[in-house]
Symmetry: C2
Subunit: 329 residues, 2 copies
């Protein structure tokens, strides 16, 4: 039985959609435990009573200390204290990161935790890391992200010797900014299967198994991707609805459109792992629906089953030492 | 009569598609002049004979001095020398930038030229600046980009008091990296209509008139956008073709899909302006088709008609001085 702490007050649609998602995910193997206010209607799920809520706009560093009894902080602390196996929250990402650093703590050797996001590429899922935990990062951080992404791809996606690429502005090795140029030099000597740069153009095609970038670039790319998918589908719907002929065609292609939407819907994964900690944390979209939350809880449980944290603990720090050694003069 | 120098050897499909595009664009008002090797079949267009080609992978700084007679360098120099009104090239962007800095030179006060790209947003075209000229940039550069983008939106798109936003990882002012946080602080005091951050999610919707970012982020976002559009449309086509029902529906929605493609096709604009120079330069996509080149030449001519360089010369430096003053202690 995998125990999943669920932050009942995290996200724009909390608590209703969160509770509903937890109920959807509950089964013989998965036990969601809700962290939320007394009296919350949980449909029979266990409730750990908490006091206070972390708002989306609150400053991460302050809020974690100022609101130790909030649903977000308590749910995260439950992982650190060993009360649960994993935590899922659709709340303030920065606060989640800050609470995790404080209450779960980093794996030895890991400088910065990073968000590993699965991209539903045509060739199959690709791991992008960092999806937004580190808005500013140094080359040695990116090398660690690459190592973590590789362990993720191997353990969770079953990829043998995953190919790593660096998100940049051209495939040629001389294309990039200071950060990517220095990172590329380190990745070449990292022992990873580094294949060079990748452009944002092929993100949805799936050129590499693991795509490495700083959290700012990764977050901009992910949101651009998401927005473009929604916008193209929405615009096509508008155009189709503009004529009778289009409407009939639209009805006929509906099953095809549904299959596409299923693959591209961010709710399909429901969340992303925050990797590099001594415990497992899953971050969901602020706008998560019940289905997204249910899927995120499923993702959280799979991470526990695959003992993702142990795998990372066994491999990242060691390799990281290698890489950083080669980077220091 | 507007004289447009066209680099006949720039781009993956040169010279055939370039020459064909120039022929398409030629009319009573627009006179494309091809810069290319002796004997090039020009279909009657004027040819300025050049010697050598700048390859896509060549290092910009070296190549401009090493190949002064190449089609790219000569076409750019023609603007600097006043032989033509504007230059269009689908060649090596870095080399184009380096050649422009050397032979056209920056407008007084402008620290860094930047690429202004029009995004075909649902609400109408949006200007993204910098689309890739400056992989590393400082906050004061971004403020200049904002000023240039505003002049562009006013003069070329007819927008009154354009709204400026900063591309970042959240709308909240505290979200961002070091660069965007410092830039936002400067933009607040810039006299521009700065509305805060914008996420990549809404790029295709058109939240702002001008979106400012460094060239690395901008280029990643633009390519991600472009790739996502192609990938979604391509995937939908595959799904639709998988069943007979889908195929019939696909035929019926074809006109709707065509209208959408027309708006989203990068060939619609065909190119982007490199702004901040004493002359006008239009950069086209490396993979440009004849239609893209023809549209780029049209765009180049419109920039000349609107006296875009004069407008920038009259306004950017002055405002930039204001902004930089407020940024220095």
């Amino acid at each position: 039985m995998i125990r999943v702490a669920v932050d009942a007050l995290g996200g724009d649609r909390a608590p209703e959609e969160i509770v509903a998602g937890a109920l959807l995910a509950a089964n013989d193997e998965i036990k969601p435990i809700l962290y939320g206010p007394a009296g919350l209607s949980t449909g029979g799920l266990e409730l750990v009573e908490t006091d206070g809520v972390v708002e989306m706009h609150e400053k991460p560093a302050d809020v974690v200390r100022a609101k130790p009894d909030s649903s977000l902080v308590r749910a995260v602390r439950a992982v650190g204290d060993g009360d649960v196996d994993v935590v899922v929250s659709a709340g303030n990402t920065g606060a989640l990161l800050a609470a995790s650093l404080l209450h779960i703590r980093r794996l030895p050797g890991v400088m910065r935790p990073a968000i590993a996001v699965m991209i539903p590429a045509r060739r199959g899922p690709t791991v992008l890391i960092d999806g937004g935990a580190n808005a500013d990062a140094r080359p040695e951080h990116l090398v660690q992200f690459a190592h973590m992404g590789v362990v993720f791809a191997e353990e969770m996606l079953g990829v043998t010797e995953p190919e790593v690429r660096l998100l940049s502005i051209g495939e040629e090795p001389e294309k990039g900014n200071q950060l990517t140029l220095e990172t590329a030099a380190l990745l070449v000597g990292s022992g990873l299967r580094f294949m060079g740069n990748q452009e944002g153009r092929v993100l949805l095609e799936g050129q590499a198994d693991v795509i490495v970038c700083d959290g700012f670039t990764g977050n901009v790319a992910l949101k651009t991707l998401e927005g473009a998918i929604l916008s193209v589908v929405g615009s096509l719907r508008t155009e189709v609805a503009a004529t009778v002929r289009g409407k009939i065609g639209g009805l006929l292609i509906r099953p095809a459109a549904r299959r596409l939407r299923q693959r591209l819907d961010p709710d399909t994964y429901g969340g992303a792992y925050l990797l590099g900690l001594k415990g497992l944390v899953v971050i969901s979209h602020g706008s998560s629906s019940r289905q997204a939350i249910a899927n995120a809880i499923g993702l959280a449980a799979r991470g526990v089953e695959h003992r993702l944290v142990d795998r990372l603990a066994g491999r990242v720090p060691e390799r990281v030492v290698e890489s950083s050694r080669s980077s220091t003069p």
